[in-house]
Symmetry: C2
Subunit: 510 residues, 2 copies
């Protein structure tokens, strides 16, 4: 029930500039009358109302002078959601119970959830009616293999419907996704250029980095403008056949972004949530055909072929339910792709491949052609088995490079990637053969160096597994925009020198 808060004097809003991510938090003084009359205490869930607008927020009690007893402090997300006028008056009372939480409880008790129940859970999460602990309970209840195929499908539908969707009014919109964990695997800009050069329409929306040193949107941003609205995207795609935009400017599957925050904190794997997360984003973006790249390797996200197959199978079945054409590609995730890790360094690899420069990293070129080839075959542009060759030809002929430039020009011009002023080179003491490269440590070092916030920062790693290394040869270079960040990354590297492992030449190789 909602109490009539009119009995209480209204509170004066105060924007205190605290970013509490998705959780809406308000700050009331311990002496605030409403705390006593409502029996509110720290962590109470409260209904915050301001002329017609309502949010449910979590209460923090202030004992200092941050707010007075007549004021209400609002965290940034709470402030933005209420969209307050400067002279707004706020009333605080007890919220009505959130009905969908009873479905979360039902799931905890092992009951299956139907479309409507998952729908209202996702809607309540998107509307901010869940505290982080409630989201955590939902994720935990759906963790492990606790979701059936029917539930994963229903969850995916619910996540799509809770946000915006793009409709390209085209018979086929093809897209790709890589199940993360592989540094430098920046094939999308190359793949989009190849596919559009083959006459396909590829309206690509990408995300920024969440836990990695760079997302495709971060990399593209050093080359051109990626913040496009629907109208601009539509116009560009109609003119040049494709785009490489940031998905964040449209609200595609917003629940996913909220769930990911808490999933990261909990680190509870859930195949069902992963599949729903990926497919909801792609379908909301208007894709009809999707290729999923699953890199498999000891330090990649998916570590064994068996779990890759299991994951692929779930993707296939759910996609079929949703009428999405899908193809799964298990790729080698044993080492980074390309030499650059970080927005600008990855952009330089992309440009080198598109321009067929001699120094272009061969593995990135090959991976891009492999992926593009599979997608060309999916799209029936060419017969099975001929896709990869067709992709290579589009690169060699320069048609892909032309398309890429056309896309960047349409998005606002092609920029030169920034270069980092600070460097540190890790060199080999003795000769040897590269026997192992740790993807996770590389990503970590690139992030400590400042990526993706500092676009020029990151790691350049010119060596590959099996390479023969001479003494004093460079194994990797750290790039940074400030000496402090360089020192910090170097300090971490010194503690984790095994990021690149060499097999002495004397010993026999493995």
């Amino acid at each position: 029930m909602i109490l009539a808060p009119e009995r209480m004097a209204p509170l004066e809003p105060l924007r205190i500039g605290i970013d509490t991510r998705q959780e809406l938090i308000i700050y009331l003084h311990a002496d605030c009358p409403v705390c006593r009359s409502e029996g509110f205490s720290a962590l109470s869930r409260v209904l915050v109302s301001s002329n017609g607008q309502h949010i449910i927020a979590t209460l923090n009690i202030v004992t200092g002078d941050l707010v007075s007893s007549g004021q209400i402090g609002l965290s940034e997300p709470a402030w933005k959601r209420l969209a307050l006028k400067p002279d707004a008056h706020i009333r605080v009372s007890h919220p009505a119970p959130v009905q969908s939480l009873s479905y979360v409880r039902a799931k905890v008790f092992g009951h299956a959830l139907d479309q409507q129940q998952l729908q209202s859970i996702i809607e309540d999460i998107v509307d901010g009616r869940y505290a982080d602990v409630h989201v955590a309970a939902f994720i935990t209840a759906c963790g492990a293999d606790n979701l059936s195929l029917q539930e994963i499908t229903a969850l995916t539908r619910a996540m799509i419907q809770a946000g915006d969707t793009l409709d390209w009014e085209l018979p086929m919109v093809i897209d790709k996704h890589c199940v993360g964990g592989l540094p430098g695997n920046r094939t999308s800009p190359i793949v989009v250029s190849i596919l559009t050069a083959c006459g396909l329409t590829v309206p690509k929306t990408s995300s920024r980095a969440i836990t990695s040193p760079a997302g495709t949107a971060d990399t593209m941003e050093v080359l051109t403008n990626v913040c496009l609205n629907r109208g601009q995207m539509k116009d560009i795609v109609t003119r040049v056949g494709g785009c490489l935009a940031w998905g964040g400017s449209v609200r595609l599957s917003p629940a996913d972004d909220l769930l990911i925050q808490v999933e990261r904190a909990l680190d509870i794997d859930s195949e069902g949530q992963l599949v729903a997360s990926v497919l909801s984003k792609k379908i909301a973006a208007g894709a009809t055909h999707v290729l999923i790249d699953i890199p498999v390797g000891p330090s990649a996200k998916v570590r064994s072929r068996a779990s890759a197959d299991k994951l692929a199978d779930t993707f296939r079945q759910v996609a079929a339910e949703l009428g999405l054409s899908i193809r799964l590609l298990c790729t080698d995730g044993s080492q980074p792709i390309g030499c650059g890790i970080g927005p600008a360094l990855e952009a330089l690899d992309v440009l080198a491949v598109l321009q067929s420069k001699p120094e272009a990293p061969l593995d990135l070129r090959n991976r891009a052609c492999l992926v593009a080839g599979a997608m060309l075959e999916m799209a029936d542009v060419t017969a099975p088995g001929l896709g990869e060759a067709m992709a290579r030809e589009k690169l060699e002929s320069g048609e892909a490079w032309d398309k890429f430039q056309a896309i960047c020009m349409a998005q606002g011009g092609l920029k030169r990637p920034p270069v980092a002023p600070y460097r540190y080179n890790l060199t080999a003491r003795d000769a040897g053969i590269v026997s192992a490269i740790d993807n996770r440590l590389l990503s970590k070092i690139a992030k400590l160096a400042g990526a993706p916030v500092d676009p020029a920062a990151g790691v350049h790693i010119p060596v590959k597994l099996g390479d023969r290394i001479e003494p004093n040869e460079i194994l990797l270079s750290i790039h940074a925009e400030s000496s402090g960040e360089l020192n910090y990354a170097v300090g971490y590297l010194e503690q984790h020198i095994n990021v690149v492992q060499l097999q002495p030449l004397s010993e026999p190789g493995p």
Copy 2:
């Protein structure tokens, strides 16, 4: 791993007086160098170090001027845990992964947890290494009937060992607990007086209200001093045979208090957690014999006889594992016990029963004698079937009242309960028979009136189920210490007038 934060300049601590309950939260400015070098963002878990002291806290990013880029703001729990000196310097870095979280994940995947695993989970929770979302995941994973008897027993042991324990060096220490949900059911002070009058040693520690309008400690506090340390308790118990102290002054099963905060927010029932919570508190308090009172009724915590039996069964088996003598008593929870709801109003009922006043509420007297009788039989003070009569006799003879006064004198003197200046009477419009009383609504009204913070506030309800009511007869009175709180409770009552339901005389009774 823990990074060497010495590379960064230390931060100046700032106590900003925000009560975030058990979750340790720190506030850093978005421009703080460590945020960029460590790649910290809102909700990151961070290691906060100050000369030898460490805590793991959750990060909130500040965009306003709450803290400068050289400062670190600490919430009240974080500030207290670090016990900072005024000129302390603070460094922030990445925490080592919390090992026991992998056990929580294992539980999510359906694996049973052993003693050592539950031990380290509980220790980490007590040491503040879990964010609320982690605690929520643990509670959810253990929700429903997901804990085996072995796990509940191990969890109880772990919760006991994570805190202090009291040892009375006595062959028998008898205690009682009521599985909440019944307003006014304040039998403990009467039961303790009866038992000590029968020569038993009863060192009673009670809790304050968590969600109810009054806990035994709140009620006793209007009559005497309840904040006793171990030494005082021991001295008093040796001299007069018993005490009625607040358990909070000793750290009994601290994990329980932390779990309860999040359990309340999630409202996920877990029989296992309930049993571990109650038994860990009692065993830590040094009890060897415990009686559990389970009120059963439509608006009580336990709503059916069947679920009461199931719960009782779990209590019995776990208690047996832990070598605790236990007796379960299922009692009538269909209406409040006594007339008073709220610290002072309940204290007046208690005094009336102990003094055998004519206006003493008969149901409270009977319930106290029922419970005390069962405990006398448990303790072999009297033969089975004779306990209740013996309890009545101790009340009638005035020996229980003498003991109660002796205990209060020993604890610092017997005080007169305060009286609320503001009243509102709900009267019956027409004649009728009382057909239903809603416990939850009564508790809610008493809390809105100010209980337990305002000791004199609460509800006085003189009527019982089946009573014949005449027009204009008082059904209940709201007591408050301020007119604002009185109005607030009245406003709520007007919206929930069905708190007391009357059957018109014309119609036949149910």
